[in-house]
Subunit: 415 residues, 2 copies
């Protein structure tokens, strides 16, 4: 009845979505639903609606022409504004090199489908955003080759990419590109320009394209300024081999609008990406809204500044709660989450122990946060805690965490 | 550089889109651009903006919750309204059986991908909407088996489907489903309930699913009332094997919004379709708008009644111009176009002669209308003329047609 290609997709559904909707159906509220789920699993920026609301609710000067068939890779008007927006502080972007589609997921699917035939592979350093498994492989038929760190290194670097890709090729796998999330999701780290250049050099040496998922580009609140791979990698690597994905979900706080962008300077890739955009276009109604949003420079600057300040404050508050609770974590520089170290509360250093702790946190604590396994983290015991929601919810999440962890019989002493 | 799967897609680009954008870049206007293209090739209903404008331009009571992640197969609110809307005059529809995605194209791609593995086939009576070639096969890897009429019959009927599918199977092809456009695009005919039941019986006998593309459901302005395959085919065929595609482009006059709907009552198909919807979701901003639009019953009834009256008037005017110009056509009952008979002006009864006439009309006449070849019509010389634009443009189109045709040296006398 159902095709094999669809059956494979059903089997590969990521856990992220399911937990999100269970938690959202019964959300914590200190007054009305104190026993509800605290959702620190979903990477949404809920700190910026006061700035967005007036723009989204306003009357719109839409005309008849705005609801007609438009180019299916995005209107000229929106692509022009996105080009301006993304080029801040870097080289100019040609709007013709942008493909606007219904979500960063669609943009990732498209670049994977354009670069890979079924069975061909993309290398991805671990840990990585878990939904990449579906986004990059679900429809394209590509597969992911995880890049672990080299012995002794804390994280995979360019040398690790070279090592993994050479091994994969020796084993007969065709590897087409390296995929980075930059800033890093889930670690919340900003890649240094030297790191990006090293990855780019590795790509050049290995004859790989580079795909950079930069959906958190404007969510950097500490550390060095964010640098796009489009600027940093071009030089060591042919600019036509650098493909950047961006979207309105994180930087503009509009995840429900499902608007993603692919930037590519390779003419054939661009033609093919436009063809695939035919299957995932964005409503011209929403494109009109986003064009207006980005066209107002004063608003955009103010929004990004305020958003960055609020992200920093939210992060500081959450980090404070964790420190006070005696829960270690890895300091973050960007994004919506804290990579939280619950290794000390596992019954054993095993994936199964991590799964059991996650289950206990979800069921007993009614806390929705995601375990490292979702992000292919090689070492069990790390969890991604998203803090960009109302401060009472974050405080409640850490209080519950402390409560559930306090009940543990631990084999490993907390540090 | 570019994958084989993407290269195949680029090679198969339909001519429709290209001609549309060339013509739209330089549009006819009796005052400001009298030498521009007259566009009677694009199936848009441009007669209803006065009713839509106030709704689309109004302030929106969107809340923070409306821009968060939502179910990727459509919000509960929109699916409930669409279920109500589509069930008018027929059996109730469960909103859980609806999958809302970014366009009818995406909905067609999804049902083809769920029912077919690459190489498997869908049977489609000719002529058929040309973009089905891309929509149903471009990403799914399925292929289409055209169903020609049986000898002596004007159009393919259920017996023709049986004949074609049996032949295809004898030749080793796995055929999974029959695809109908209902009302028929490009012919503008409303299938009678007896015809739909006969197609459904053929599907049951052949072990086929039935996919009905009903995007013109509410564009029937003459002849009998439209009956959905969801109602007519259920009985002769297991209702779980009837899958209906609908969208806001034609019936609501909102093609740029790219919102399509798949209705299926087969649980596994539904699960798989939801997974595929993950790659082609609709902006919650636009979903909010459409929910409000359909929730206002008074407005909907008034809109559909007025739209139908305007379609009938537009058709009558265009038919009058053609008759006055001595150009024969096939009477239509639904849709935006007239199937126009230019056989008498071909230099020969060949596809090449049709192509040359099309080129002459486009280049000398600057008329954008589509030749029968785009719709896989077996007999050369038919063209689809869309009349649902401003009356002066339609009058100009027929005047130019007459002018270009009058210049012809014809091998066949006009009838």
């Amino acid at each position: 009845m159902v095709s094999q290609q669809a059956t494979r997709l059903v089997a590969g559904t990521p856990a992220i979505a399911a937990a999100h909707f269970v938690a959202e159906a019964d959300p914590y509220d200190s007054m009305s639903n104190p026993d509800g789920y605290v959702n620190v699993g979903t990477a949404e920026n809920r700190l910026v609606w006061d700035m967005l609301g007036p723009r989204l609710c306003a009357a719109r000067a839409v005309t008849a022409a705005d609801v007609r068939y438009a180019p299916l890779h995005g209107t000229v008007a929106l692509r022009s504004q996105v080009a301006r927006f993304l080029a801040r502080g870097g080289a100019p972007i040609d709007p013709e090199d942008l493909v606007v589609v219904s979500g960063a997921t669609a943009a990732l699917d498209i670049i994977a489908s354009v670069l890979c035939d079924p069975g061909e592979a993309l290398a991805v350093p671990v840990p990585y955003y878990g939904a990449l498994d579906t986004d990059l492989t679900g429809r394209s038929g590509a597969r992911l080759v995880p890049v672990p760190p080299l012995a002794g290194a804390p994280l995979p670097d360019a040398a690790a990419v070279v090592d993994t890709v050479r091994r994969a090729r020796s084993a007969g796998t065709t590897v087409r590109a390296l995929v980075l999330t930059s800033p890093h999701n889930p670690l919340g780290l900003i890649y240094r320009e030297t790191e990006l250049r090293a990855f780019a050099s590795a790509c050049a040496a290995l004859d790989l394209d580079l795909i950079a998922d930069e959906v958190y580009a404007h969510c950097a609140f500490a550390g060095p300024a964010f640098v796009s791979a489009r600027d940093a990698a071009s030089g060591p690597l042919d600019p036509q081999r650098v493909h950047v994905v961006w979207g309105f979900a994180k930087d503009l706080g509009l995840p429900g609008l499902k608007v993603g962008v692919l930037h590519t300077r390779q003419p054939q890739v661009r033609v093919a990406a436009r063809e695939l955009a035919y299957f995932a276009p964005v409503s011209t109604d929403t494109q009109w809204l986003l064009t207006e949003l980005l066209a107002a420079d004063d608003w955009t600057v103010q929004f990004l500044t305020t958003s960055r300040n609020r992200l920093a404050a939210s992060y500081a508050a959450a980090a404070g709660h964790l420190t006070a609770a005696g829960v270690p974590f890895r300091p973050a520089e960007a994004g919506f989450s804290i990579w939280t170290d619950l290794r000390g509360w596992l019954d054993a250093a095993s994936p199964e122990a991590e799964r059991l702790l996650w289950q206990r946190l979800f069921r007993s604590g009614r806390i929705n946060l995601l375990p490292g396994a979702v992000f292919h983290h090689p070492e069990p015991g790390w969890f991604r805690l998203c803090h960009t929601t109302d401060p009472a919810t974050v405080a409640e999440a850490v209080a519950r965490l402390r409560h559930v962890l306090g009940d543990s019989t631990t084999a490993f002493p907390p540090r």
